[in-house]
Symmetry: C2
Amino acid sequence: MTRSLDVCLTPALIPLYNVENYIVVVIDIFRATSSICYGIGNGAEAIIPVAEVEQCAAYRQKGLGYLLAAERNGEVVAGFDFGNSPFSYTAEKVAGKTIVLTTTNGTHALHLSRKAKKVVIGSFLNLTALCNWLKTQPENILLVCAGWQNNFNLEDTLFAGAVIEQLKTGAYTLDDPAIAANDLFHLGKNNISQYLGKTSHGERLRKLGIEKDIEFCLQVNLTTAIPVLHGERLVKLV
Amino acid sequence: MTRSLDVCLTPALIPLYNVENYIVVVIDIFRATSSICYGIGNGAEAIIPVAEVEQCAAYRQKGLGYLLAAERNGEVVAGFDFGNSPFSYTAEKVAGKTIVLTTTNGTHALHLSRKAKKVVIGSFLNLTALCNWLKTQPENILLVCAGWQNNFNLEDTLFAGAVIEQLKTGAYTLDDPAIAANDLFHLGKNNISQYLGKTSHGERLRKLGIEKDIEFCLQVNLTTAIPVLHGERLVKLV
């Protein structure tokens, strides 16, 4: 039986899909899902994605076990432990800890995807482990790009194309966004960093002085951990 | 001063743009905007786009001057004069006539774009005339892809990329969707028909037996007419 391998280019388009019929992979390369994969790979017990800074702050009252991560428009919100930089998610800092994370785009996509059969987290850091696991699943797959302010961005789409590249030998039907994502990946794959350098988002992140984060997030297969959503929490898929 | 040259990949994303700040080009290659360009080029007095079949039917009561064109999911609605096939928009059939047109995707995009500084219609059939005119305009430009059922499709995106190709020597800033559209155009430009052959939409249209329409819509520069929205009516830009 042919399965669907579809790409949802922005969270604004999620309502067009019956997410109930899919395993959803949420993608927010710069930098939420990269940091989540790295953090779970480094032994974080769980990462709790929340939509609003206020919801994150509320965990301060719930006990001492939480690290609070809040970022808006690429910067750490005052009073929080850290933001989205993957360098904050080292084993030293996160092992055994539960992190409450709020981000501009990634959390939004996660919340809109909750009704899927399963929601997992993708990034270049866990690319091949993710693809190998997806290949074993008999379900339709929807790659959800978190994008930028509900609109399309190139980095998330390119990563979706990288996943398709590993899966497309299987018996999947691709929708038009999936075909486009895979074609764009082919254009950029030999130097993803350079290819993304021309985008508005890369430009904006560079202005924020986080080039090191960008290079970090483009590393491939740094971990085999696949974060999966259980209730409110992202935990390691076992 | 740098102007923006942006691409809105689907009508669902129009709310992300302040269309008031743009000249909007509406694109629905298969087949609404191709037929509109051809019809206006062939001397149709006006084409009135409406959203619902019932609105179209209502013009039957208003007098004898109207040709009624209604299509849903690629087929002419029973009782109407014709649908979206460009072969219905010959000079013989449409010269001097006003056509009331309802389509699945194109009209939807048009209605959501009405508040723009100006709304014009693009297709391969009037590509170079359209681009030459756009070059003379000091405004930001938003290329709105009608897409398919509110989602991304390749043919409209590729055409947006073709417009960008002619304009990008000018002083425009491209957003990420514009960069992607132009890259996809480069991938497909040597054989657009073949490139689009792999898409879901092309497949679906082939099943409807309208391959001839598809080939027709991919012809370049068949007319210099640029349809422009005046109130409710699309007329020839002069």
